[in-house]
């Protein structure tokens, strides 16, 4: 019988991992991911999860161990956050270039300096070009469900690419929610055992992870690019298959809320989206035509969906919990690129918010929609389009 549990995002990830039955888990604890790793360690200890748990000495070793285990055909999982993600940055490219279908949880957290344990997206977005699929979830249930889906996606033979599952640090990792735990037999049917076709094997020895000359390197990169582009359709298929089995659909690459007739659309990642929806409902009652578009996957990037869903909007706001210093938020850059490819000319505005754990309040989302309304009326392109939301002090700008 299905059962519900009142658990945190970290617990939900651990439950999702237990249901996915990885052979090997290698992880190093780091706030705010620690509880996920502790739970997994306990599950291995009490025998409810039959995995090798490797207590490694660093994040670099954690991902390296997963790469090695994946090379002999094991299903592998790791988890990290912030500085830990950067410490394994070298290995991120080894994992994606070697086409090792590793699944990793990343608890989104700010980067030093100033040192901060609180949330933003500067860690994962700085690794957008590492060749990993990146998904951002919004609540504990989606966290659990996306662990299972991430293995299905990474291990798809036309994808064979590692997946980074991003949860907002503290907001999701430490918030308790009622979560439905899927049945093991249903997960087993959804996610059958996997063996990579390119595994290290004594009967059929292979040279793995070799170097290449300039004459071949580009072709391997072309393959990676097309595998991740192909993942778009695989993500949609997995989402529908998951809905058939478990009764929950997350919309594939994006999740659009009240966007059909919306004049003003705000685009966000992760847990901020919930606050945006609440504000959108309030503003709708006041007669505003507003919508919320959540980007679930940053890679592959849902350019077709963004162009299609926003095509009737009069102004688009993008919330970035990051900034590429000296230019703009990275989500904003990606959205603008998609809109420009789609030949749309809707004014866009970038809201830098929630850095280092600063709260993104309902009031600030209201302020954001007011700015969008102004832009939609004046079509003023002169103003500064990269705006820090909720600065606590006056500035000279």
């Amino acid at each position: 019988m299905k059962r519900n549990a009142f658990i945190s995002g970290n617990d939900a990830v651990a439950e999702g991992v237990r249901l996915s039955r990885p052979h090997v888990i290698a992880a190093y604890p780091i706030t705010p991911q620690t509880v996920a790793v502790e739970r997994l360690s306990e599950m291995v200890e009490d025998g409810s999860l039959q995995s090798e748990f490797l207590h490694v000495e660093s994040e670099h070793s954690a991902l390296s161990a997963c790469i090695g285990a994946s090379a002999v055909g094991a299903r592998t999982f790791t988890a990290t956050s912030s500085q830990g993600l950067l410490y394994m940055a070298e290995c991120l490219h080894y994992a994606s270039g070697g086409r090792f279908p590793i699944v990793m949880m990343n608890a989104n957290r700010s980067l030093a300096l100033p040192w901060s344990i609180y949330g933003d997206h500067r860690d994962s977005l700085s690794q957008l070009d590492s060749g990993w699929i990146q998904v951002y979830v919004e609540d504990a249930q989606e966290s659990l469900d996306m662990v299972i889906q991430s293995f299905a996606l990474a291990e798809n033979l036309d994808v064979l690419t590692p997946v980074m599952l991003n949860l907002d640090g503290f907001t999701l990792t430490h918030t308790y929610e009622l979560v439905e735990l899927p049945l093991q037999e249903e997960v087993d049917a959804f996610l059958p055992p996997f063996e990579t076709p390119y595994k290290m094997d004594l009967d059929n020895p292979k040279n793995l992870a070799f170097s290449s000359q300039p004459s071949d390197n580009t072709e391997f990169k072309y393959q990676q690019h097309h595998a991740i582009l192909h993942a778009k359709q695989v993500i949609r298929n997995i989402d529908s298959r998951f809905a058939q089995t478990f009764g929950r659909s997350y919309g594939g690459l994006v999740d659009a809320y009240r966007c059909e007739d919306a004049e003003l659309i705000v685009i966000s990642l992760g847990s901020t989206t919930g606050t945006c929806r609440v504000v959108a409902d309030e503003l709708r009652k006041e007669g505003w035509r507003v919508g919320v578009l959540k980007i679930r996957f940053m890679r592959p990037f849902p350019e077709e969906e963004i162009v299609k869903i926003t095509r009737h909007a009069r102004a688009i706001g993008v919330i970035d919990r990051d900034i590429s210093f000296g230019f703009e938020g990275t989500v904003f850059t990606n959205v603008n690129s998609a809109l420009s490819r789609g030949n749309t000319h809707i004014p866009t505005h970038n809201f830098i918010a929630g850095l280092g754990g600063r709260d993104i309040s309902k009031e600030s989302i209201r302020e954001l929609f007011s700015t969008l309304k102004k832009i939609s009326k004046t079509n003023d392109t002169e103003q500064n389009i990269v705006e820090f939301l909720n600065l606590n002090v006056a500035t000279n700008d």
């Binding site: 270039g97 070697g98 086409r99 390119y198 059929n204 292979k206 040279n207 070799f210 072709e219």
Partner: protein, 100 residues
């Protein structure tokens, strides 16, 4: 050299699907020799060789082998580093300059 991998011809891929998915391929598939940078070569005095295989264990390029009698070197891949001569307790290996 029957127990050595041989150089084989590799058919260059014509289509992207001819490539393996990621850098993974059958092991021991040598497509070229690689010894052009050698300035010294090991020479063995077979009578002194005790077949202790320290040279075999230490050779970083796996170029030491034995078919019959004493050990031998695969000069298609030996880079002339001299580690074999250094580790040979019987002093059976000396390094001599390559003449070009």
């Amino acid at each position: 050299m029957s127990n050595r991998p041989t150089v084989q011809h590799f058919n260059s891929p014509k289509h992207i699907s001819d490539y393996p998915v990621g850098p993974a391929f059958r092991a021991g598939f040598l497509t070229s020799t690689n010894a052009g940078w050698r300035s010294e070569r090991p020479v063995l005095v077979a009578e002194r060789c005790t077949l202790c295989y320290q040279c075999y264990m230490y050779c970083p390029e796996a170029t030491v082998f034995k078919i019959t009698g004493a050990v031998d070197f695969d000069f298609d891949y030996c880079k002339g580093c001299g580690i074999c001569a250094e580790v040979c307790a019987a002093k059976a290996i000396t390094m001599i300059p390559e003449k070009r």
